[in-house]
């Protein structure tokens, strides 16, 4: 997958969690929790859906590496090789 | 001189090797180590040893459920065969076939087969493939007299003659189809006469004389290699033990068995070779010792073998998809 495809997948998954999140307006480098109303349950559902779509395992210890959109894309790109 | 001695030693070594291996199998079966069905070749050793002497590594072999001897002489290791009968994964068929299903693709040994005459069409097909790819080699198909009553035999004989296929029909006529004597199930008990009626050469050979068998098979193999088509050899032989381990042998008298034991192929060949100055008693003693060592090693290998893990149960039902 290309990085752009990963970015699209992340944004699409984000919308299933926070329907009101407009992809165009999501700031790539500010914490998603801050921009959008996301609690720990939303976060878990978000990671599970990424896991199901991309087949990537996300251990709890890695949560801090996925705070912003860019971090998510970088983390997933590295995992997908 | 020593080339003839070499051959005599080889023939005796093979015959004694089969005899002791099969005797040990009978003991292991009654001890519960070998299960299922077990059909022993004791008495018929001269047929397999003589025939294999005339065949080449690239020739194909198709045999029956009484195939330990053929496999051993063809070169399938005694360890792999014993492990197979112990149902171990190290067996020559992965422990999945047992005594009646010994296979070795590397030696073109296309197996035992538990279905009477079941392997015959395969042999015809292997010969067809050789012919279509004009490889000058033959397929030797071993079967018992009982198989000649199966429809497949008549179909195979006709097709092989029709398409002039390089297949040798080697009929081990031991006079009994399991518990039925040949004169109680065959209208024509001289099987080679019937074979000739299909339009291929057919002759009877003394199956208790390893030299006679080797000479006859060598001749028909050479002709078949040159494209003359199939041939039928009726090797007159006799099994000294029951059809299988669960057979009270009510169908033949003990006297008849003793009568045939007088023509045991092993002492017969020893006497012949000693007469020709090729072998001495010391050679026999050395062979017996070597064979005993080989059998003990085979049993140790089988005992130490492992059981195939249950998770592999469905492996090899189909060929794994070749990765791109």
């Amino acid at each position: 997958m290309t990085r752009d495809e990963i970015r699209q997948t992340v944004l699409h998954t984000l919308r299933t969690i926070a329907p009101e999140a407009d992809p165009a307006e999501v700031q790539p480098d500010t914490a998603l929790r801050v921009q959008l109303d996301i609690d720990s349950m939303d976060a878990l559902n978000f990671f599970i859906r990424l896991h199901e779509k991309l087949g990537v395992e996300i251990p709890e210890a890695d949560y801090p590496k996925l705070n912003t959109l860019n971090e998510c894309v970088a983390y997933l790109a590295a995992k997908l090789g | 001189m020593n080339e003839k001695r070499e051959r005599a030693l080889r023939l005796l070594r093979h015959m004694i090797g089969i005899r002791r291996f099969e005797e040990k199998c009978a003991e292991l079966y009654s001890a519960g180590k070998i299960r299922g069905f077990l059909h022993l070749y004791i008495g018929e050793e001269a047929v397999a040893v003589g025939a294999m002497e005339a065949l080449r590594p690239q020739d194909a072999i198709v045999a029956t459920y009484r195939e330990h001897g053929h496999a051993l002489v063809r070169g399938v290791p005694a360890t792999a065969i014993m492990a197979e009968m112990f149902g171990k994964a190290e067996g020559c068929s992965g422990g999945r076939g047992g005594s009646m299903h010994i296979f070795d693709a590397s030696r073109r040994f296309y197996g035992g087969n538990a279905i009477v005459a079941g392997g015959m069409p395969l042999a015809v097909g292997l010969a067809l493939a050789d012919k279509l790819q004009n490889r000058h080699q033959v397929t030797a198909c071993f079967f018992g007299d009982g198989a000649t009553a199966e429809g497949e035999y008549h179909e195979c004989a006709n097709l092989a003659v029709l398409w002039k296929l390089p297949v040798l029909f080697l009929c081990e006529n031991n006079r009994y189809a399991m518990g039925t004597a040949i004169d109680r199930y065959q209208g024509q008990t001289n099987l080679s006469v019937r074979a000739r009626s299909y339009g291929m050469p057919g002759e009877q050979v003394d199956g208790m004389d390893v030299e006679a068998v080797a000479t006859a098979v060598a001749r028909v193999a050479a002709e078949a290699r040159e494209g003359s088509g199939p041939a039928f050899l009726e090797l007159l032989t006799y099994r000294f033990r029951a059809h299988s381990m669960y057979d009270p042998e009510l169908y033949r008298s003990k006297a008849e068995v003793e009568q045939w034991k007088k023509r045991d192929p092993i002492p017969a060949f020893q006497a012949l070779a000693r007469g020709q100055g090729l072998l001495t008693d010391a050679d026999t003693t050395a062979i017996e010792a070597a064979v005993q060592k080989e059998i003990d090693a085979a049993i140790a290998f089988a005992e130490a073998g492992t059981l195939e893990p249950i998770e592999h149960l469905t492996a090899d039902v189909y060929t794994p998809a070749r990765t791109a």
């Binding site: - | 076939g97 279509l132 790819q133």
Partner: protein
């Protein structure tokens, strides 16, 4: 690309010619496949083009020429063996079940048997019981072989090459009523996949699961049901082994109702297997018991009115759908 008007028979012949041209190891063997041009005229003209060595007429010895095909495959060839009809394959069952399907596993993986065995199947031409069997379900019971049922021009054109490339034995059942099926096919049509079912007509109310000779009867039934406001989804299994249960289950999870149409006799039939798989995994998606339409459990009779009554027909399929929709029929 230009489409061309053709028949199921011609598609199968094109597939045979292409296979023979592309791979010298391929040869065709069977009763009357050469001089006579094939009992269903599928191999007409091939003897003149490829010669008697590769288009081999055989004596009436099914057990042996099928067994010889298996042996030749083990010897390095890629045989296509034609058994005139499934009815005669009963004489070769021992070779197919005890040799072709079994040798690989029983020898610990030492042999592959790349053989394709084709045979006509099914009733519908008043040939009476001995010539009207539909036994694909039997063969689909046996691990070690694959079973295909091409029902469209594309599949008749494209399944053979893929089957020949498969290292394991593949049986292809051609329903006798399909040989004259006419239609358009892309001139460049070629090999197709052989292990997935295809939804031939989408629908939301009920899943019609079928294969081979009964596919077109289901499509007719779906047409009539649409008039009555019922959207039936028609699924063509294409392969009976391996069985693409996933496509069937996805459809049943959507429609919540299923009717299986199978020309075999219902007891121990393929329809029974498909129903079992639906019950095992989609039980909580069912809004009504699964229905099926099979042949009556009788030897197929000779007279046409009885043969029609004994085998699945569109009216019977429509009635089954109404039952599963809960309409009191």
């Amino acid at each position: 690309m230009s489409a061309q008007r053709t028949t199921y028979r011609e598609c199968m012949r094109m597939a045979l010619r292409e296979a023979m041209q592309r791979d010298p190891r391929v040869f065709l063997m069977g009763e009357d496949v050469g001089m006579y041009g094939g009992s269903y005229a599928v191999s007409k003209g091939l003897l003149e083009e490829f010669g008697p060595e590769r288009i081999r007429d055989t004596p009436l010895s099914e057990s042996t020429f099928v067994g010889a095909g298996i042996g030749a495959a083990m010897g390095g060839m890629r045989p296509i063996v034609e058994i005139m009809t499934v009815n005669f394959s009963l004489l070769a069952l021992d070779q197919i079940v005890n040799n072709a399907a079994t040798l690989r596993h029983m020898s610990g993986g030492q042999f592959s048997i790349p053989i394709v065995i084709r045979m006509a199947t099914g009733a519908g031409r008043q040939l009476a019981a001995q010539h009207s069997h539909s036994l694909e379900g039997w063969y689909a019971h046996i691990p070690g072989i694959k079973v295909l049922t091409p029902a469209t021009l594309e599949d008749a054109r494209g399944m053979l090459w893929t089957a020949l490339e498969d290292p394991d034995p593949v049986l292809i059942f051609e329903h006798a009523s399909l040989y004259n099926l006419e239609g358009e096919i892309d001139a460049a049509a070629g090999a197709v996949g052989i292990d997935k079912a295809i939804v031939r007509r989408p629908g939301k109310d009920v899943s019609l699961v079928t294969y081979g000779g009964t596919l077109h009867k289901c499509l007719q039934a779906a047409e009539q049901l649409a008039q009555a406001g019922v959207q039936a989804e028609v699924i063509d299994l294409r392969s009976l082994r391996p069985l693409d249960a996933e496509t069937v289950l996805a459809s049943v999870r959507k429609t919540h109702r299923a009717v299986v149409v199978d020309e075999g006799w219902r007891s121990g039939s393929l329809s029974a297997e498909i129903m079992a798989r639906i019950l095992e995994t989609a039980f909580y998606d069912l809004d009504a018991p699964v229905e099926r339409v099979c042949s009556a459990e009788v030897p197929i009779p000779y007279p046409q009115h009885l043969e029609q009554a004994a085998t699945p027909q569109p009216p019977g399929i429509v009635a089954a759908v109404h039952r599963v929709m809960g309409r009191h029929v």
